[in-house]
Amino acid sequence: MKDRMFFFRNSPAIAGLFVVALAQAEVPIVESSPVNSNGQVQSGNPAVTSSRVSSRPSVNAPGVAQDSLYYQLDLLQQEVQALRGLVEEQAHAMRMMKQEQRDRYIDLDRRITKSSGGAGLPAGDPGSTNATKSPAIAPAVGGSETGSLEKQAYADAFELIKSRKFEQAVASLNAFLTQYPSGAYAANARYWLGEVYLAVNNPEQAKEAFKQVLTDFPEHRKAPDAGYKLGRVYVTLGDKAKAREYFEMTVSTYPGTPSARLSREFLKEL
């Protein structure tokens, strides 16, 4: 039902037909209400006459007027729906802007309070730029504890992957790896960098990322996945010998993992 309704509403051609039908319906007056209140398109056969309508004294005017009223009502409903959507979206955007403005003000206020009252900070300390910055940014995560900051940075990058913002994800993951080259999530970040490169059709870079997972973190949980993916990359690049090499390595080095199973399946097809 829904689809039919959309079809009708979105199709000027059908609306046009309807007008033509109205124009042709001269003497046998048509009780053609093409859209009932249910939104369903009714049989639009102009030859179907309605005795109730045609028995009226003034033959043409009321029927046509009634039909055109239906038509106008329908147009109005569409218009109101579209406008309602706009109003809702704009109200939402305004609420968001207000919120953002307030947050910015609070953040600014906090920083000003910090810097004007922050006499305790040693001026010549090499880490002072960080020290003034981090408490303002991440007061909620318990000061400037690197572990949670790292986790957050990784989660943010991962969020970009999930929402398929691949270009931003590449930048974010690379920044993450520069900042935490040997952190707890370094292997994961590298692996996902490979995945994202694959997604944006850049197998050469993907290859490098996966290889680094294998060489730098051969014991990591992502290593078998990287091995399997390398095989896939070489399949994409058309190098079957290399692909076979990596699939076989994954099967023999990481038996029992899902990646080993997937590799075995691919080996059968190579």
């Binding site: 039902m1 829904k2 689809d3 309704m5 009932n36 209140s37 249910n38 939104g39 409903q77 569409q78 729906q81 579209a82 309602r84 959507g85 809702e88 979206e89 939402h92 968001m96 990784y154 991962f158 969020e159 992957i161 999930k162 929402s163 398929r164 707890a184 999530y185 994961n188 995945e195 694959l198 997604a199 059709n201 949980r221 992502k222 996945d225 399997y228 029992g256 899902p258 990646s259 997937l262």
Partner: protein, 434 residues
Amino acid sequence: MITRLTGLVLSLALLVAMPLRADLTIEITQGADNPVSVAVVPFGWGGASALPEDLAQIVADDLERSGLFAPLDRKNMLSLPTRTSDVVYRDWRILGSDYLVIGSIGQTEDQRFRVEYYLFNVLNQQVIGQGAVTGGADVMRDIGHRISDLVYEKVTGRRGAFSTRILYVTADRHSTYNTDFRLNYADADGHRAKVIFQSKEPVLSPSWSPDAKKVSYVSFEGGRPGVYVQNIATGEREQITRFPGLNSAPAWSPDGNKLALVLSKSGNADIYVKNLKSGQLTQITRHYAIDTEPFWMPDGKSLVFTSNRGGSPQIYRVDLENNWVERLTFEGRYNARARVFDDGKSLVLVHKGEGAADFNIAVLEIESGRLRILTSTLLDDSPSVAPNGDMLIYATHKGNRGILAAVSADGKVKFELPSTKGDVREPAWSPFLN
């Protein structure tokens, strides 16, 4: 309803679109980034006959599927203790297991099984959970899931949902006019499925009563849709509504006394609430646009529903006191079929991306309006939340068949459920059973 119809139309387009989009599908073959390592030792058994189920395997599988645990492979275990006195902590520290589960099974005089189990924290060398259950062969899987629940709760601090159930619909199409529609009832891991209702006409929208004893669904038996309530244990059925036009999308209120549903008896799809005790029917929404797919907020004071009153399908919330309607989704041109997490803070819904078949499962934080997309396959549909809010089950497509899959609420863990014959759709995760 909107989702389903669009889905049908799009499945044709999908056949063409699939190969082109395949490159963008990211495979997540693994679970969380740093899962907790746990060893589940095969349970001791002195009986002569073979055990009906491998309890330790059930527990290990449960924990692994949650994605938060990495169970140790049995082959690598250095010792196989079955009693607390046999546990050598050093063995498990070497293997890197943070937690250890052991157990033993004995037989009672009436041929039932008595299972004793212990959960150890390997690092501080303490028993942090234990229990003993007696039951027949038919409840061995229940016992296994109960042990998994204990481990999950002790380690994560959140209640486990392994002992819960799912309902889903299968459509087994023999020919154009001969399809078997079945309503299935199964464990949360897909095992022990059984058919609780079967019809040659479509069966849709199963919804659990809050005590998990009854199910409400739409059946087209007799050629017209009607809303039915069925007692799962007895099979006893009752017809709730059968008005002309639509009777669809029933959703049980948190107190169990009411059903929200969609009727078109006034000419257009609107949300109604039927009081199951008094039989009173109240119209909640009144709009010439389509209002459908209602679901209750946990406090029972408002409903979320899908409506195209703003020109595109979006999620709205209606306050049942004053019928005030508020829009909740603003990202994208299509958000539908919302289900609410038990904390009332988030919704899971079907969100349409840019591609024609890009229907994905997404979680909306109501307060902040933040939308997180959890899945990246095509035509994902009908999400349902586990009662602990940690996992979601949903319908998706594999090949040209409908299957069920699950994803963690943070999107990191995914798995597919063992597929049964025919098309599988519309899963509904039960509340906690007790």
